[in-house]
């Protein structure tokens, strides 16, 4: 029986981990992901799950231990955030390059300096080209569901997956969550990766040998191809998910009211709820507004975005990271790239908001939708000179 429980994002992820029964968890978790591993280590200590729990001395070591365990064919999970993910950066590429199906929950949080503990997407955006699948949760239920789905997808795509949930706004928020029976999760993911490595098997193998200019490029092309196949694996994954749990998860993007939209908002993560409400208020005012939530950021769902956004006059990208390149945030840059070449391509206004946990207020969203959209890049809610004058 599905149970309805009040859980924070961290608790929901820890519970998903317990139900997934990983062979190995290695972690040195940093706030705000700390409680995922803290709660999970209690499950281990109480004998509720027989995972080999490896408390290591740094995030770099955490992911390194995960790499070794995954190379031995284990189901492996870890969690981190912010500076911790930055410290893992070197090993991220090794995990994907070796095609290891590690699943990592990232509690999205700002990067130093200046030091800040609150939420934005700077951390995972710094890992966007590391060869990991990246999905962003909308709410606590979604974080729970996507963590279960990620294991299914990682083990079949043979790629590592990051399941991102907004620091504090999801990790520390209590929401009602429908929790599936342990046996249903077990049936969904099985006992172990179906096609894992066998470093500890009978036949000796070498994982990760030297590949010099005569072969390195072929391995990287094969990795790119694996990423290109992920949308198909995700389609199969959400179908299996629906069969096992009766819930529909949009695999790549979630579009609402974009069919006839003049203005379409594009967003990642938990502020999708605020954006959807703002679009609905726009509809009440007589404005044809719609919303596209990007669920899967890597691989980038360019075709799905083109389809959802082609008819709009204006696209407003709302995002919590900056590339500091003069081109705006990473989502805006890639949305523009996806729309490039469309006949009558929409004008894109890239709105950077909520860095370091700054709140996005409904009134700001309403003012944005009522203003003459300028195109270019806007820093919303920043003190000082504005591109947009509040209405």
């Amino acid at each position: 029986m599905t149970r309805r429980m009040g859980l924070t994002g961290n608790e929901a992820v820890a519970l998903a981990w317990k139900q997934l029964r990983p062979h190995v968890v290695a972690a040195y978790p940093i706030t705000p992901a700390t409680q995922i591993v803290e709660r999970f280590s209690e499950y281990v200590a109480h004998g509720e799950v027989d995972t080999e729990f490896v408390p290591v001395e740094s995030e770099h070591s955490a992911l390194s231990a995960c790499v070794g365990a995954a190379a031995a064919g284990a189901r492996v999970l870890t969690a981190t955030a912010s500076q911790g993910l930055a410290l893992m950066h070197e090993v991220l590429y090794i995990a994907s390059g070796l095609r290891l199906p590690i699943v990592m929950n990232v509690a999205n949080r700002a990067l130093s300096a200046p030091i800040n503990i609150h939420g934005d997407h700077s951390d995972t955006m710094g890992s966007r080209d590391a060869g990991w699948v990246q999905v962003y949760a909308r709410n606590v239920q979604d974080a729970y569901d996507r963590t279960l789905l990620a294991v299914w997808v990682a083990e079949r795509a043979r790629l590592p997956v990051m399941v991102c949930l907004d620091g504090f706004t999801l990790t520390h928020s209590l929401e009602p969550v429908e929790v599936y029976p342990d046996e249903a999760v077990r049936e969904f993911v099985g006992e172990a990766p179906p096609d894992g490595y066998t470093l500890l098997g009978g036949e000796p193998i070498t994982v990760g040998p030297l590949a010099l200019p005569d072969s390195y490029m072929e391995f990287r092309r094969a990795l790119a191809a694996a990423m290109e196949r992920v949308p198909r694996v995700l389609e199969e994954g959400v179908r299996a998910f629906r069969q096992h749990f009766g819930r529909d998860l949009p695999p790549l993007v979630e579009a609402k009211g974009t069919e006839d939209a003049d203005v379409a908002l594009v967003i990642l993560g938990s502020y999708a709820d605020s954006a959807e409400q703002a679009a609905l208020r726009g509809r009440v005012r007589g404005q044809r507004a719609g919303l596209v939530r990007v669920v899967t950021f890597r691989p980038f769902p360019a075709a799905a975005l083109r389809e959802a956004l082609a008819g709009a006059r204006d696209v407003v990208v709302l995002e919590r990271a900056d590339t500091l390149s003069g081109l705006g945030g990473p989502l805006g840059v890639e949305v523009r790239a996806a729309l490039y070449g469309l006949p009558q391509a929409p004008r894109v206004t890239d709105v950077i908001f909520g860095l370091g946990g700054r709140e996005l207020r409904d009134a700001e969203l309403d003012a944005l939708l009522r203003s003459e959209l300028p195109g270019g890049v806007v820093y919303l809610g920043v003190e000082g000179a504005h591109v947009l004058e509040p209405a």
């Binding site: 070498t206 040998p209 391995f219 094969a222």
Partner: protein, 94 residues
């Protein structure tokens, strides 16, 4: 390597022990020459050789695997002075 990328979907994984087939002996500038008449079979060279290139049988040194010896000279350096059974000679010298 002539492998197409389409054949590499398993990632960089190869059969174990592949270094046996990878001949590193041609890196050598000096070659250790073993004099079995002088060798006392103390096994220090076998212990120290970083390339496992000292071949043994029945607890005794037999010969040197020149396909894998890189000529570092550690064996000659650790050979007991009174045995002095290993000399380094330039490659190409008689």
């Amino acid at each position: 390597m002539a492998t197409d990328w389409q054949a590499l979907d398993r990632g960089p994984v190869i059969p174990g022990g592949s270094s046996v087939a990878y001949r590193t002996g041609d890196w050598r500038q000096e070659r250790p020459v073993l004099d079995l008449q002088r060798c006392v079979h103390c096994m220090l060279c076998w212990l120290y050789c970083p390339d496992s290139a000292i071949r043994t049988a029945g607890g005794r040194v037999v010969d040197i695997d020149y396909d894998h010896c890189k000529g570092c000279g550690v064996c000659a350096a650790v050979c007991p002075p009174r045995a002095n059974a290993i000399r380094m000679v330039p490659e190409g010298a008689p």
